[in-house]
């Protein structure tokens, strides 16, 4: 019922292939975890095979019910969410959801979240044995329930520890997803790199909240939530710029990418790949529009290989 997916007149002289810490992607466009479900939700709107990779909704060891509603609040050029990692748990994921992506020709990256350092190790080990997993993305913006509910990602050492245990439990590429809610994202990135991460993705959401002035209560059932969408783009581009200068790992950039121009900002700042998140809600074809636009930009500017653009604004 959807428009036939546009088969691009693949310009043979353009090379879009990127390698993210061992994951070979046919182009740099992927999806931001939690905004694209488990992939099949968007299959009616786009040809999933055209994606460079797919990053699925965060998975935990046990099933999680998630947070009370409302879970979403619109803010100026942004969205606050507090889904609370609702997911059926890693077993159901592997048995029921993962097979749905088997027919597609694209790397599946599984986003994982834990409540303890051990959780991350167990998740990594379980997914290492699962067929059809190209790599894991480690969401460290979760509270460490054993250590005063401090977020793993807010402390460089804890972030390094989580990275280490994941690496120890899987042979697959490990991407660590950084939180912007820190004094120095470079300090976190350095520890994560030292602990063996193969790639970084950034940024996760900014901590925010909204208040309903009529009800005089927070809008979100969970009080605070994560801010995403165009509003956060300047912060996200800045973090990519900073980390690219100091840490020699490939970066998947995200945060407010709506268009190819937005994606190119991240790439020029230093991202080797980009993820489209909140934009999918506004435009289910956003990933395809971003991809087409990047190709167009490269053709118009005579860029043969996407790698020529990565970090090019730094020079």
């Amino acid at each position: 019922m959807t428009a036939p997916s546009k088969v691009t007149a693949e310009n043979k002289s353009i090379n879009l292939v990127v390698n993210i810490g061992g994951i070979q992607m046919k182009n740099p466009v992927t999806t931001a975890s939690g905004t694209f479900g488990y992939g099949s939700e968007y299959a009616p709107y786009i040809d999933l095979n055209r994606l460079g990779a797919i990053v699925v909704k965060g998975i935990t060891l046990q099933p999680r019910a998630g947070n009370p509603t409302p879970r979403l609040a619109e803010t100026p050029a942004g969205v606050l969410n507090s889904i609370g990692l609702q997911n059926p748990g890693v077993e159901v994921f592997i048995e029921e959801l993962l097979p749905r992506l088997a027919g597609y020709d694209l790397p599946v990256i599984v986003n994982i979240a834990g409540e303890t350092v051990q959780d991350y190790g167990r998740l990594a080990a379980r997914l290492d044995r699962a067929p059809g997993v190209a790599g894991v993305e480690v969401n460290i913006s979760c509270p460490n329930v054993k250590q005063g509910w401090m977020l793993f990602g807010s402390d460089p050492d804890m972030a390094g520890e989580v990275t280490g245990i994941v690496k120890a439990n899987t042979g697959k590429p490990v991407i660590v997803k950084l939180s912007p809610n820190v004094t120095s994202i470079v300090a976190v990135a350095e520890k994560v790199a030292a602990a063996g991460a193969d790639a970084l993705s950034m940024i996760n959401t900014l901590l925010g909240m909204s208040i309903d002035v009529k009800k005089r209560r927070p809008v979100l059932g969970n009080v605070v939530g994560g801010l995403s969408g165009p509003a956060v783009k300047p912060v996200a581009v800045r973090t990519v710029w900073q980390v690219y200068r100091e840490v020699k790992l490939p970066i998947i950039g995200m945060g407010g990418i709506m268009t190819a121009e937005d994606a190119l900002e991240f790439i020029l700042a230093g991202a080797a790949a980009v993820a489209v998140g909140t934009a999918n809600f506004v435009n289910p074809r956003a990933t395809m529009d971003v991809l087409d636009g990047i190709e167009k930009y490269m053709t118009e500017h005579g860029i043969q290989n996407i790698s020529e653009l990565v970090g090019a604004a730094q020079n």
Binding site: T2, A65, R71, V282
Partner: protein, 258 residues
């Protein structure tokens, strides 16, 4: 499940703050089922950012037209109301599950609170096409907000009105009115409080019913898990279902009210 730039054929202010817009969207009109909704891009800039879910209110398949009936609540609906004939509106849909059409003998009963008539009117259109006559319970704060009564009667249905101020019909809520003689296969839409009460009445009288729910939505396609409501889970209490794809229409007995 289309993305369409649909042209506005007509935009009417039915009552201050209440609008009906008719859009040219051929394929969506063909595909639409009562109870489904469209995810509407009310603006064109990054503010407001998200689409707005609006029920399919009426369909004219021959002309390929879909109507929406909406109330100005905030910026999104205000922007939509500001659009004129000839302007385009980006639509995603039809989305969601629809109402189950009544089978066999059970009489169809429609219970609508205020703007809740929006999706139910399309259901009444379809029932009429099936030569099924429904009892329509309409509730509103005041008589002026009892919408489309003539059109509903013209479709061959019977109306029972209730107003909070007693200006027309029963003086009280529409659920109170329905409760006086509860029977039939119920289709309900309206504010959460009203639906909660209605589901109790349905349960107490061992009726069958379907309710159309509302929740804040991100994607509209089941991917973001923001639009959930609690539903019964065999065995262990409640679980979260997605209003956008598992609903917005749920069997009355499945919804767990807080």
């Amino acid at each position: 499940m289309l993305i369409t730039d649909a042209e506005i054929i007509q935009q009417d202010e039915i009552l201050p703050g209440y609008y009906r817009v008719t859009l040219s969207a051929f394929l969506a009109a063909i595909a639409a089922k009562p109870g489904q909704f469209l995810h509407v891009r009310c603006g064109s800039t990054l503010d407001p950012l998200l689409r707005r879910p609006l029920s399919i209110h009426a369909v004219n398949r021959e002309r390929g037209e879909i109507s929406l009936f909406y109330r100005i609540v905030g910026r999104g609906t205000a922007l939509l109301a500001g659009k004129r004939k000839g302007e385009k509106v980006n639509l995603l849909g039809p989305l969601g599950s629809g109402f189950t059409m009544p089978v066999g003998v059970s009489a169809a009963v429609v219970v609508a609170g205020g703007i809740g008539i929006a999706p139910l009117y399309f259901l009444l259109q379809e029932l009429s096409a099936l030569k099924t006559c429904a009892d329509v319970f309409l509730g509103a704060s005041t008589s002026k907000q009892l919408f489309f009564t003539q059109e509903i009667e013209a479709l061959g249905h019977r109306i029972f009105s209730a107003t909070d101020d007693g200006s027309v019909g029963y003086h009280g809520t529409v659920v109170d009115l329905f409760e006086q003689n509860p029977a039939g296969r119920v289709y309900g839409c309206g504010p959460a409080g009203m639906l909660k009460r209605l589901s109790q009445v349905i349960k107490q009288n061992e009726l069958c019913g379907e309710l159309s729910l509302e929740e804040r939505m991100g994607c509209g396609v089941g991917a973001c898990l923001s639009c959930v409501c609690k539903t019964v889970n065999e065995g262990n209490g409640a679980r979260y279902s997605r209003v956008c794809v598992d609903g917005p229409v749920f069997p009355a007995g499945e919804v767990v009210w807080e």
